[in-house]
């Protein structure tokens, strides 16, 4: 089980990772994050308003994002969020972890399709460049 406390030092949950990814290139306001997450996940993840603000509340508290700007559009407040330095580091670490997993999965899948080869590492070889445990 992944819990909020351990989120920063272990893996991120999918909605959280997607929100951070949505904010990686530019600050965005609430509904823009929803739209961006929908696009990033290829239409698979549609954050509902309650879920979005649950994630934003937690990310703000953990210092992974910050309020970037507040503006009034058509008489209504629009608040945009941006990654903090810690948030960027966390996302970078998470991306590296996922890349290693993907690379390893691809390697094993490739091995398993070749007859007579076993998808087994030689003793002493780690899991990618650095040993990662999830």
């Amino acid at each position: 089980m992944t819990y909020g406390r351990s989120m920063s030092d272990r893996q991120l949950q999918e909605p959280t990772r997607l929100v951070l990814t949505a904010l990686a290139d530019a600050p965005r306001h609430g509904y823009a994050i929803v739209q961006e997450v929908l696009a990033i996940s290829d239409g698979q993840v549609r954050l509902r308003t309650g879920t979005l603000y649950t994630a934003l509340d937690r990310l703000l508290q953990q210092g992974l994002i910050q309020i970037h700007a507040e503006e009034v559009v058509d008489g209504r407040l629009r608040r945009s969020y941006a990654l903090t330095g810690t948030g960027r580091d966390t996302l970078t670490a998470e991306t590296r972890r996922l890349s290693l997993t993907v690379r390893e999965a691809e390697r094993r899948l490739a091995l398993s399709t070749r007859p007579g080869r076993q998808a087994r590492r030689q003793p002493g070889h780690g899991f990618g460049p650095g040993t990662v445990t999830a």
Binding site: M1, Y3, E14, G50, D57, R58, L77, R79
Partner: protein, 318 residues
């Protein structure tokens, strides 16, 4: 009232569910996002959007959000509570099925009408199905089924409906487990992770079925206060105690999670005290359930402190 006015009114009502301070800080912004998110929606998708907002508001109001300590405690309890409720339901369903299918089964002398059997098994289905959905990574479906199962048990408790002969104590336990599982902040209980699913599956198999195996093996002939009796009565707390030990012996223990796990075992205190209605039995059950949890907490803390001392000593510094 136009459709636009009606929607505005609904959003306004939903926003009133938020604590006033949070509403003052974020209400306008949330209303804006909600209006954009629900534009063009109708029927079930619209209802889900509203439900998501209401759930977030109520979570903040009850201080069960993912940033609140209580929310994190309940999140620690949720997988164990779900597994415990499913475990109990699984055994109940097996009992009724075996009663009919196996003539030599101890309860076969009881005459179950097909309607009774169907109803008794149907009552266990939401819990079992919720666990199956959680194991399949279907979080939303699992929560809906859990909500349905808990609501039914609450109704049964309040209206004194006992379909499968469940006592009030058993109903109370199921309600407590259901509430713990439902109340957990969804973003802290991630069933998309393989480790989460493994935990729920393992706990479902370990919480109640071993008691059935123990009682079946011993034929129910063990005396009160004997070791098998004590073991069968404290068993539901043992898997939770093992988890508490693992969490608290970690270098950086999540104490709130450990507290939640321990909390998930407490509803079992009331279940097994049905047979003897006495203060002695109630105290005995409480001790039998709490002792393994307290023991695990102390042992976990001792392991962590010992490890820290060894690491900070000459050997660790070297």
């Amino acid at each position: 009232m136009t459709l636009h006015q009606f929607r505005y009114r609904i959003t306004d009502l939903l926003l009133r569910l938020y604590p006033s301070r949070y509403r003052a800080a974020h209400g306008e912004e949330i209303a804006e996002v909600h209006a954009e998110a629900t534009a063009g929606l109708s029927g079930l998708p619209l209802l889900r959007e509203h439900a998501s907002l209401a759930a977030h508001a109520l979570r903040l109001r009850t201080r069960l959000g993912s940033t609140d300590p209580a929310g994190r405690i309940v999140a620690g309890a949720a997988p164990f509570a779900l597994a415990g409720a499913a475990s109990y339901s699984l055994v109940t369903a097996l009992y009724f099925t075996a009663s009919v299918l196996v003539p030599s089964y101890p309860a076969a002398h009881q005459v179950f009408s097909p309607a009774f059997l169907a109803l008794a098994c149907a009552e266990t289905l939401p819990w079992i199905a919720a666990t199956v959905c959680a194991l399949a990574g279907r979080r939303a479906a699992a929560r809906v089924l859990l909500l349905a199962g808990t609501a039914w048990k609450i109704a049964a408790l309040l209206l004194d409906i006992q379909i499968n002969g469940e006592s009030h104590n058993s109903l109370l336990c199921m309600v407590a487990l259901g509430v713990l599982a439902v109340a957990a902040p969804p973003d802290l209980v991630d069933v998309s992770q393989r480790s989460s699913r493994l935990l729920i599956g393992t706990m479902t198999l370990l919480t109640v079925p071993p008691i059935l195996v123990l009682n079946t093996t011993l034929g129910g002939a063990h005396a009160v206060d004997s070791l098998p009796w004590a073991l069968s009565h404290c068993w539901p707390a043992l898997p939770a105690a093992a988890a508490v030990l693992v969490v608290l012996s970690a270098p950086r223990p999540d104490r709130l999670r450990a507290l939640g796990i321990a909390l998930s075992a407490l509803p079992w205190v009331v279940v097994l005290m049905d047979s003897i209605f006495s203060f002695y039995a109630a105290t005995g059950e409480t001790v039998l359930i709490c002792a393994p949890l307290v023991g695990a907490a102390l042992l976990g803390t001792a392991i962590r402190l010992t490890r820290a001392r060894l690491l900070s000593g000459p050997l660790g510094r070297a």
